[in-house]
């Protein structure tokens, strides 16, 4: 079952804010910095290497086994490289541990991560390897002549996915898996209400059908399902909701330089729309109500928006579920893109794990890490992992392989490996790869994302409590978000919400230390001045 564990992420956020602050301070004198990585001319196979790989699985043992198999296969190819796997079930814990280890130069060698996180890792000088040289290295690069496996060429990595790993003028990661969001629709209910699903879902359609679904019987139950509960439209990740709405509207969010532009009139209009439908009960969110899948499968929701990587929880025959079997209802599940403002030009978020390489003093060790990183993009690994959820492989080679094509063609053959909803969302992303986008990455972009979602959460909660959402409300909300997430500091987001915590005055020991340092410098300078004067005096015979 999937229970909320919000406390942990908040705890981590504060720890991260503190550590980030310390990293910034230590960066001032560069004591933790690394020399820039230079690709060695030759990989020294006479030596043994031990590298660590921090990976994330979706509480899914099959994914763990795929990592283990990938490591075993890689070690067969490179017997002098040992890969130690450390598994996490939560990206934020990886983020926390990496940052902690950057300050002590004990990072892993290879790590699953998000580009937003790498932007923070880069606070440590040369801590993450810029991969540009490695990509293009003829011997050990992508498709390199001395690579002992069928490494994809740079051109075979889906360009949109690869570009997501580029920021600050360099590539800092390789994409590993990609997903997007999908709208899982109870088609049976839509038609019962007298509507036909359009080819592309629009916001107007979703709002209209959602309002229509609220009609009640005389006994207070909902006419559509005969139950006491009906939340027609539930969104899991409201940060994505706001980001995609703004993108589809062509409205501002942020720019590459980290300037915050979300607090604009379009955002306000979108919040008014959310308020209108939150007030009637037509719309709610995961944070307010619970997982969309639970409501969808119980016949209490029509439009459930969640990641394609959560497809195995969606639908009448979902292989994974939090609700008991007796609560399931029979319905036809339609898989559609997230709602659009311009159905002729659909736009949707691209998300999913990437993998980065951490710098080490030993460039041979970094090269060994890079070889393993490349191996994760080999077709065997890509296809196996993509099949575990509604992911798609990131290389055209894997996507077009007979094995993957065969997998897709077996849609619906069972409710596990070939679960039809899971394969349909993968096909949805494959058909829309060119319609995906990501938001600019900068130090603090994760905070801006948090604020984007929090505004929808706040507005929805407020109207459920009969509060008025108007001009004054939105103005205050903008100010609150600015303050909470430090978005108004020179136009740049400063860090997580937790970084809003006032660190207070320096402790006494720190102040004493600074005092001693200051005193030492004064004494040194005084000595230098005295010595210079003395020498001058000696020379002049005084």
């Amino acid at each position: 079952m999937m229970r909320r564990k919000e406390k942990l992420s908040k705890a981590l956020a504060l720890v991260l804010a503190l550590i980030c602050g310390l990293m910034t301070l230590t960066g001032c004198h560069g004591s933790q910095g690394m020399e820039e990585f230079v690709v060695p001319e030759e990989f020294d196979t006479s030596r043994d290497y031990e590298i660590t790989f921090w990976a994330k699985n979706d509480t899914n043992k099959t994914q763990t086994r795929i990592y283990e198999q990938a490591i075993a296969d890689f070690q067969n190819l490179y017997p002098n490289i040992t890969v130690n796997l450390r598994l996490y079930t939560d990206y934020s814990r990886i983020y926390n541990d990496v940052i902690t280890n950057i300050s002590t130069n004990t990072t892993p060698n290879v790590c699953i991560t998000y580009p937003d996180h790498i932007a923070t890792y880069l606070t440590g000088t040369n801590s993450v390897v810029a991969l540009d040289q490695l990509f293009d290295d003829e011997t050990y690069g992508l498709g390199g002549s001395q690579v002992r496996f069928d490494s994809p060429s740079r051109e075979e990595i889906v360009p949109q996915f690869l570009e997501e790993c580029s920021f600050g003028g360099h590539y800092y990661a390789l994409p590993y898996m990609r997903s997007t969001e999908a709208c899982y629709v109870n088609k049976t209910y839509v038609e019962k209400l007298g509507y036909q699903l359009p080819e592309t879902l629009t916001w107007d359609f979703v709002w209209e059908v959602s309002e229509a679904a609220l009609k009640k019987n005389d006994d207070g139950t909902f006419a559509l399902n005969g139950q006491n509960v009906m939340i027609p439209f539930i969104y899991k990740s409201t940060d994505n909701m706001m980001i995609q709405m703004l993108k589809q509207k062509g409205a501002d969010y942020s720019d590459e330089a980290g300037d915050i532009r979300i607090f604009n009139d379009t955002t306000k209009e979108l919040l008014y729309t959310v308020a209108e439908h939150g007030r009637t009960g037509a719309f709610s969110t995961f944070k307010i109500s619970s997982y969309p899948a639970n409501f969808l499968n119980a016949g209490q929701c029509i439009f459930a928006v969640d990641s394609t990587a959560g497809a195995t929880w969606m639908g009448t025959d979902a292989p994974l579920s939090d609700i008991s079997a007796d609560k399931f209802v029979e319905f036809e599940t339609a898989v559609m893109t997230v709602p659009q403002f311009d159905p002729g030009h659909p736009q949707m978020i691209s998300q999913g794990p990437s993998v980065c390489v951490f710098n080490k003093a030993d460039s041979q060790e970094v090269l060994a890490s890079w070889l393993f990183t490349q191996y994760l993009l080999s077709s065997d690994v890509q296809i196996a992992y993509a099949q575990t959820e509604g992911y798609v492989p990131v290389t055209s080679r894997a996507q077009e392989s007979p094995e993957y094509t065969d997998y897709l063609s077996r849609i619906g053959q069972d409710n596990q490996m070939y679960y039809d909803v899971k394969i349909r969302v993968s096909q949805l992303l494959l058909n829309h790869m060119e319609d995906t986008f990501v938001t600019p990455v900068f130090n603090g972009s994760a905070s801006l994302r948090d604020a984007a979602g929090q505004m929808i959460e706040n507005v929805t909660k407020s109207v459920r409590r009969k509060e008025t959402v108007d001009e004054a409300y939105v103005e205050k909300l903008y100010n609150d978000m600015n303050a909470l997430y430090h978005l108004d500091q020179g136009g740049k987001a400063a860090g997580t919400a937790a970084s809003a915590a006032d660190l207070g005055p320096l402790p006494l020991t720190s102040r004493l230390l600074l005092g001693v340092l200051g005193g030492a410098w004064i004494l040194i300078l005084a000595y230098v001045a005295w010595d210079a004067a003395k020498k001058k005096g000696d020379k002049t015979g005084k």
Binding site: R3, K7, N60, S289, N294, D322, K461, R465, K466, A498
Partner: protein, 252 residues
């Protein structure tokens, strides 16, 4: 000698009486507090139950256990003489959190809410009041599987004579418990285990934020064997159905 003996007996008698009286009232010699009594303007438990979701509620209740604190927010299990209130992410300084020891009386103002079936108070603030009450565990064994159980949501309860049933780990093996609901976790994560009564099986949980892997209950569940008969205590949490957060396990 007789005088000394009589004095000794009198002393024992007095101490015994004090000990009995102090059970639910922290050893004071004041009259036992009525944990159902409310100040003016404060809801009774009955009124709280009747209140609509997303409306403001004001309750007086007593801390029974604390689950977590971070970033000035506390999650707390509380109860009065009539029912329980789960306080989720209530505004609370770290200093105040330390004061929320079991029994502490608090007045809470927040919004009644429901998440995955769990009725709770969110976006709340509180003030500490004079008074103390520790609820005794209510035996709800016979209510398992019937609708009436939900009326006791979040209360401190006990289940008697339950049998540990197998869970299946990701390798397909039958085990007495799992780390995380599907066995994907490790030591330190939530524990999930199945117990049965009268042929029906229920899934219980040791919430790692409430009872981490250093606690007796965590270690006791890790030591369970399939087929063990156990008495259990915990808070009647709800997640898409009954999902007690177990705080005590006794193998019979």
């Amino acid at each position: 000698m007789k005088k000394r003996f009589a004095l000794f007996l009198a002393l024992v008698l007095v101490l015994t009486m004090v000990g009995c009286a102090g059970g639910n009232n922290q050893g004071t010699d004041e009259p036992a507090e009525d944990p159902s009594a409310k100040s003016e303007g404060v809801m009774t438990y009955e009124e709280y139950v009747a209140a609509d979701l997303d409306t403001e509620v004001v309750v007086e209740t007593y801390v029974q256990a604390k689950q977590s604190w971070w970033e000035d927010q506390a999650t707390v299990y509380t109860q009065d003489g009539d029912g329980a209130y789960f306080l989720y992410n209530m505004a609370c300084s770290e200093e105040d959190y330390e004061k929320l020891v079991p029994g502490t009386k608090i007045r809470v103002t927040g919004y009644k809410s429901q998440w995955a079936g769990e009725v709770e108070i969110i976006d709340a603030t509180f003030e500490i009041l004079e008074g103390s009450f520790i609820a005794e565990a209510l035996d709800v064994t016979d209510l398992l599987g019937i609708d009436e159980l939900e009326a006791h949501q979040n209360e401190f309860v006990t289940f008697k004579g339950m049998t540990v049933e197998p869970s299946v780990n990701p390798d397909g093996e039958e085990v007495a418990f799992l780390y995380n609901w599907d066995g994907s976790g490790e030591d330190g994560n939530d524990l999930y285990f199945n117990v049965s009564k009268d042929g029906k099986t229920y899934n219980f949980c040791v919430e790692s934020y409430l009872c981490d892997n250093t606690t007796d209950v965590y270690n006791a569940v890790e030591a369970l064997n399939i087929g063990d008969t156990v008495d259990l205590e915990g808070f009647l949490y709800w997640y898409e159905g009954v999902n007690p957060h177990i705080t005590s396990v006794t193998v019979l």
